[in-house]
Symmetry: C2
DNA sequence: CCTTTCAGTCTACGCTTGTTGACTGAAAGC
DNA sequence: GCTTTCAGTCAACAAGCGTAGACTGAAAGG
């Protein structure tokens, strides 16, 4: 027996999943409410009733999953950053990609991405040595973003290798950025 | 006296400029033919007649400006890459940004970006030492993309500094990627 | 059992979009 | 000077969009 409340919860959840998938695949503009409803085996009108508007549906579907706080000694920070990046390179981070996608076509979402990235970046910078810590942690963010986008979205040739091989190259860069050390000349 | 041919050239050029600006600002989907025509002081119908379709207009407006071939010894390559990145960080590369923006909402454009990046990346990899040269040159591309996007599009806090300060940090990373050297432990 | 509630469906609206084609008037060609 | 060409304008189109609201039928509640 399916109660009414339960049916509703399931439907809402199916809609949200479909929205996450489609926003991740096609971005905000090229995803229509009708597409979401169809994939969820539901109805456009129902989507509107449950989520208010396409805008609000997006806000819930593409809420940026906050990376856990990163803290500790520089060495520990480097390890955590490396682990987080490895994970992002391994399986497609749908939600994060949706957010990035949206940033480029959807002004409001851009603000969200900026806020999320800035917050994390400041938090990291506070724990790094050196007077250009904020810039360095910004470069870490840029490198991370660049790698994720280049691998998953652009599907750049050379990056189509196991995450471990990528990290063998990117890892030392992160270490260097965290500690502020210089490479051998 | 303005000849007819000259007037046409000027109009096409105005349309193309407006398209470049608007595609760069708002991406493909959120830029309408009417907006382009208005900014160019022209007419939507004329835009269609001259460029065929919005799609073709975009193709011409956001054609990715091929970076000049990069070649020489590893040291020379590193220098050229550094110079190119410095330039990209200094002034907004509108066309490239438009292409990147479009990539997130427009699958076909992603293919263009892939082609352009892949070509350059292979060309560089051929001249680098080491057996993981292709991966390293891919990471260089990712780092470049990440920095440009983070600075100009996300407008990330820490990266809002003079290009020289950024390059003081990113430059060594590129050197390291080019030569395949390891940082001091 | 009868009424109320509410998940889910269907239809249609107003609007914007890319695109087309008929029209106008001035430059080009003879 | 007369015809042809063609840059530029205007109005309208079909299609697709987000959204609203009336409707249906089964579960909930007394």
């Amino acid at each position: 027996m399916t109660t009414r409340a339960e049916a509703r919860r399931q439907t809402e959840s199916r809609i949200l999943s479909a929205a996450r998938e489609l926003f991740g695949e096609h971005g905000f503009d090229r995803t229509t409410v009708r597409m979401v409803a169809a994939r969820a085996g539901s109805d456009p009108g129902l989507v509107m009733r449950y989520f208010g508007s396409k805008e609000q549906l997006f806000a819930q579907a593409a809420a940026i999953p906050a990376d856990g706080a990163i803290e500790g000694t520089p060495d520990e920070i480097a390890a955590q950053l490396t682990a987080a990046l490895t994970e992002k390179l391994a399986d497609e981070p749908i939600a994060a990609l949706a957010a990035l996608r949206a940033m480029f076509s959807h002004p409001e979402a851009a603000g969200e991405v900026r806020k999320a990235m800035t917050a994390q970046q400041r938090q990291i910078a506070d724990q790094l040595p050196g007077d250009d810590a904020l810039v360095r942690s910004g470069v870490i963010g840029a490198l991370t973003l660049g790698l994720v986008v280049s691998r998953h979205l652009v599907q750049l040739d050379g990056l189509d290798v196991p995450p471990e091989r990528l990290m063998a190259i990117a890892g030392p860069l992160i270490d260097e950025l965290v500690t502020g050390s210089r490479p051998v000349e």
